[in-house]
């Protein structure tokens, strides 16, 4: 019990943050009027954000320990507890989930006119599951919420998505499910290996035989690599992102992709340190392929949304590159970049949604000269596009910088190759910008172009603020995670002898 600090706020703050959206969803199920439903959803997400704020105020940054911990017995037969808590890493994602949740409600205000009730219920259920995944301190609770997310996401893509939505929705579910059921086998095996407990902290403290660690690492890898997604398991992502409605794309890019990388941080690294030492090289190589290959594929895209989707593959490659550099700088950069990517790509998808609502086309060729036609929209998009390509002064620059220096420390060549991804990143963004915003206004969409309204501008202003604030003051976020990252890295330092990839493979073959 020495690794946790119980919740001392006098009320179950994490549980309220997790279940408030669920309560909102239940309330919405009773409403009939679309107007009332939208406002209830908005107020619920806003209240969730406000309720979660004391977390950041009362958070103790000097310790790696789990804070605001609540624990109640759940299924005693399996020694299973409902335990939630946050440390310096997960607290950031709880905040991100609350932000993204509210953004989704606002972004869908006018776009969703059919089955409004079901839509907002799905969004709120997603928020409950997302927040819960990051706050869960029990492997079983984590898995339940991780899987439960499939249902609302499946509906979001499949009901309100684009023309190829059914294919994309089913592909999304099957890919994710195939990965996570293998993790389920891993979880059960871990449960018995760890002495019959689902408690994440207890499981992370035990030491497992290297052989078992390798199998478990692979089982968890199946689930996390699909979610991130890492090359070559990324093929569901462009379809799902492209076909999903704006809110769905925002959730996918903002939160779902982060869950995979978060899984590596929370489970694979502390629980299977020896296996991570064996596999970190292949992981780095996969990350590099994702960065470079993802960027090249991005360059070729003809559909704006698909372009941003593929850019996520490249960006998430940076994240995993940072995490598996296994040093303080790289890891902090990776986590920081996860937040940045959530903000920036979420904002880019929202922008695309805004323009799509007017023109009903996502083909790049149909656009042109937007800078002249819709200046306010242009300003917003420019900021986020610059942030997306890692322009100095924006948050992504700081993230990529940290990741690259981390990668250089681990392997010089890795850092050198990944620089190429940065260059390509600028290339595809600038080229996209060039084709959409410059030249004359394309007559195909001319009559539909109206500039952004108040609601649309308001929902993006906080994100603009975050882009620059985090770009100038990255320490605001990094100060939260420092102690936790340090603690995580201690797991690797304490191991003693370095196991190289070759030795490890020999060990498996034996």
């Amino acid at each position: 019990m020495e690794d946790i600090i119980l919740n001392r706020l006098g009320y179950p703050i994490l549980s309220i943050t997790i279940f408030l959206p669920l309560a909102g969803a239940l309330l919405i199920s009773l409403l009939r009027n679309a107007y009332a439903i939208r406002w209830t959803a908005l107020l619920t997400t806003f209240a969730t954000l406000v309720v979660s704020l004391p977390l950041y105020i009362h958070f103790d940054k000097t310790t790696y320990k789990m804070q605001f911990v609540e624990s109640y017995p759940w299924i005693p037969a399996w020694n299973l507890n409902y335990t939630v808590g946050v440390d310096g890493i997960s607290i950031l994602f709880v905040l991100l989930s609350a932000l993204i949740g509210m953004l989704c409600v606002l972004a869908s205000w006018k776009a969703i006119q059919e089955k409004v009730k079901l839509f907002y219920m799905a969004i709120l259920l997603m928020e409950t599951a997302m927040t819960g995944v990051f706050a869960a301190m029990d492997l079983f609770l984590f898995y339940i919420l991780w899987e439960a997310m499939l249902v609302p996401m499946f509906l979001l893509i499949g009901i309100w998505g684009g023309s190829n939505r059914v294919y994309a929705a089913i592909k999304f579910v099957l890919f994710t499910l195939a990965g996570s059921v293998l993790m389920l086998v891993g979880i059960i095996a871990l449960y018995y290996a760890g002495g019959g407990t689902f408690d994440i902290l207890a499981l992370a403290k035990a030491h497992y035989p290297v052989n078992l660690q390798i199998w478990l690492f692979l089982a968890f890898f199946a689930a996390f690599a699909v979610k991130v997604p890492m090359f070559p398991l990324h093929t569901w992502l462009p379809d799902a992102h492209t076909e999903a409605p704006t809110a769905g794309s925002v959730i996918l890019a903002g939160i779902l992709l982060k869950m995979g990388a978060y899984g590596f941080l929370r489970f694979s690294m502390p629980m299977f340190p020896d296996a991570v030492k064996i596999f970190f090289m292949p992981m780095l190589i996969l990350s590099l392929i994702a960065i470079v290959y993802g960027a090249f594929v991005t360059l070729m895209q003809k559909d704006i949304k698909r372009l941003i989707a593929y850019s996520s593959v490249s960006h998430m490659g940076f994240v995993t590159l940072g995490l598996f550099s296994l040093n303080q700088t790289g890891m902090e950069g990776g986590i920081f970049q996860m937040i940045n990517h959530g903000i920036v790509t979420g904002a880019l998808f929202t922008c695309i949604g805004v323009i799509y609502e007017r023109t009903h086309t996502r083909i790049i060729e149909d656009y042109g000269g937007l800078a002249r036609a819709v200046p306010i929209f242009t300003v917003f998009f420019t900021i986020f596009a610059l942030a997306g390509s890692g322009f100095p002064g924006t948050n992504s620059f700081m993230g990529e910088f940290l990741i690259l220096s981390g990668a250089f420390k681990t392997k010089m060549a890795m850092g050198a190759i990944s620089i190429m991804g940065v260059i390509l990143g600028v290339a595809y963004m600038v080229w996209l910008y060039y084709r959409i915003f410059l030249f004359d206004v394309n007559p195909k969409v001319k009559e539909h172009l109206r500039d952004m309204g108040m609601r649309e501008a308001l929902m993006l202003v906080p994100l603009v603020f975050l882009v620059f604030y985090l770009g100038m003051q990255p320490s605001v976020l990094i100060s939260y995670m420092q102690a936790s990252v340090q603690h995580l890295l201690d797991r690797f330092g304490a191991g003693g002898q370095e196991i190289t990839a070759v030795k490890g493979i020999i060990e498996v073959l034996k």
């Binding site: 005693p76 899987e147 499946f154 086998v185 059960i188 449960y191 018995y192």
Partner: protein, 462 residues
């Protein structure tokens, strides 16, 4: 007299059910109303369920055992009767005129199942099996003027009789070897004389396994199931997707553990092969189905495969998990069939766009489909989890890996139903006759699927 009463005590629920069956049959001559018959059946099933816990004990020199194991299955049978009764009220294909026969056959089949669950002797087991099977054959062909129903019944009857014969053959071999039909006596004789490795014993094990595999519709003895499920009146399809399967599992478990426990090496290996084949065949064939009753038939074949996994380790955890899974499966499968009855359509294509006009019933189907696919927080996930835990604990992690991969495959055909209901549009207006009894049944099942899914504690380690 009191001696007789003591002997009959453990049989009290069965006696109650027999009296009920006869009264329903007699009442059916005068009252031609399904709702009244259904009410009587549910009332009787409730009374029997109330009598189950006080019936503990053995009767007739160990031929009949009423223990916790058997009682658990009997609760499932009572549940099965009640839900089938509710679902049949507004099922128009079954005429009001035949309500007496219909309900008494359902009850009669259930008595057979109860005997199977409590059989401490191979002869009692056989009697229960025949009572159950014959009643189910008739129920399958209950739609006399429907060709498909006739065909289903005949097919089920011919193949079923064949399986019963194989069971008898196995019983005869066991009797020939050990000179006993009582399960405990058989086990004692095998242990005392070291018969576990005897080739005739192996043949007997294979015969018994094959016969039960037929009854639970496990591959390669599953061929009858899709046809029988498709042809039977839909409430009967629901009834027999749970009742006979549950009863066969109950008896199978008892025979394997009580009588043939020392031959676990034999049946363990056979069952692994059957379980894998069943999971693969059930899930793969379900992918190709266009008729929802056939799809659910193949899905129930796949679920039988999962449940078999619980028997394989030969541990208490495994059996507990199998029993929990059985209960959960009963709820979610009943629910799916209840929705099929409510919609009155069998082609999956005809489900297009139903969610627009009927959001509640579509939401219920969504819950059942995701539960059958084993996605949390539904009961189906808890069932699969407890099974996998037992299997992995016993060291069969590779078996669990195969099972989870096919469970991911199964998501495809379950989701397809949801896709049609929610994501496709149609010109036709789906008209669904409102039925309060079906509504109640569906509501209860949805609640149970969530309750077991979120708060499973009371339903584990039964």
């Amino acid at each position: 007299m009191s001696e007789l009463m003591r002997e009959l005590g453990p049989l009290f629920p069965e006696i109650l059910m027999t009296v009920l069956t006869l009264s329903v049959f007699l009442a059916g001559l005068a009252v031609k109303k399904k709702s009244i018959m259904a009410f009587l059946s549910i009332l009787g099933a409730a009374a029997a369920a109330y009598a189950i816990p006080i019936s503990a004990g053995t009767a007739f020199n160990g031929m009949f055992i009423s223990d916790g194991y058997g009682m658990f299955f009997k609760y499932i049978f009572m549940l099965n009767i009640s839900l089938t009764a509710l679902m049949s009220i507004d099922y128009s294909a079954v005429d009001e005129r035949h309500s007496g026969e219909y309900y008494s056959l359902v009850l009669l089949a259930s008595i057979g199942m109860m005997l199977m669950a409590s059989a401490g002797d191979l002869i009692v087991l056989y009697l229960g099996l025949e009572l159950m099977s014959l009643s189910t054959y008739v129920l399958t062909g209950f739609l006399r003027h429907n060709l498909k129903s006739n065909e289903a019944s005949l097919k089920y009857f011919l193949l079923g009789t064949f399986a019963t014969a194989i069971l008898l053959y196995g019983i005869a071999m066991i009797y020939g070897l050990t000179g006993a039909t009582n399960l405990k006596a058989v086990a004692d004789y095998i242990a005392k004389n070291g018969l576990a490795a005897n080739p005739v014993m192996l043949l007997a094990v294979i015969s018994v396994t094959a016969a039960f595999s037929f009854k639970i519709a496990a591959a390669p003895f599953h061929m009858w199931a899709p046809d029988a499920y498709e042809g039977a009146p839909t409430p009967i399809t629901a009834f027999m997707s749970i009742g006979p399967k549950t009863a066969a599992f109950a008896a199978f478990g008892r025979v394997l553990f009580d009588a043939l426990g020392s031959a676990r090496m034999d049946w363990g290996t056979i069952l692994i092969a059957i379980a894998i084949a069943t999971i693969v065949v059930g899930n793969m064939f379900a992918l190709a189905q266009t008729n929802i009753k056939r799809m659910l038939a193949y899905s129930s074949i796949a679920h039988a495969g999962y449940m078999l996994m619980g028997i394989i380790p030969g541990t208490k955890e495994g059996m507990d998990a199998m029993m929990t899974y059985m209960l959960i499966y009963a709820f979610m499968n009943m629910g799916a069939f209840a929705v099929v009855i409510a919609l009155g359509k069998e082609e999956i294509k005809s489900y297009d766009g139903i969610a627009r006009r009927h959001p509640l019933i579509s939401a219920a189907m969504l819950v059942f489909m995701f539960s059958l696919a084993g996605i949390p927080p539904t009961a189906g996930f808890i069932g699969k989890l407890s099974l996998f835990m037992a299997v992995i604990k016993a060291g069969y992690a590779w078996l669990a890996v195969i099972a989870v991969i096919f469970s991911a495959v199964s998501a495809y055909y379950y989701l397809r139903v949801v896709v049609n209901m929610y994501m496709k549009e149609t010109e036709e207006e789906a008209v669904i006759a409102s039925s309060p009894s079906l509504g109640i049944a569906i509501l209860i099942i949805v609640l149970m699927v969530f309750i077991i899914g979120i708060m499973p504690s009371p339903f584990l380690n039964l």
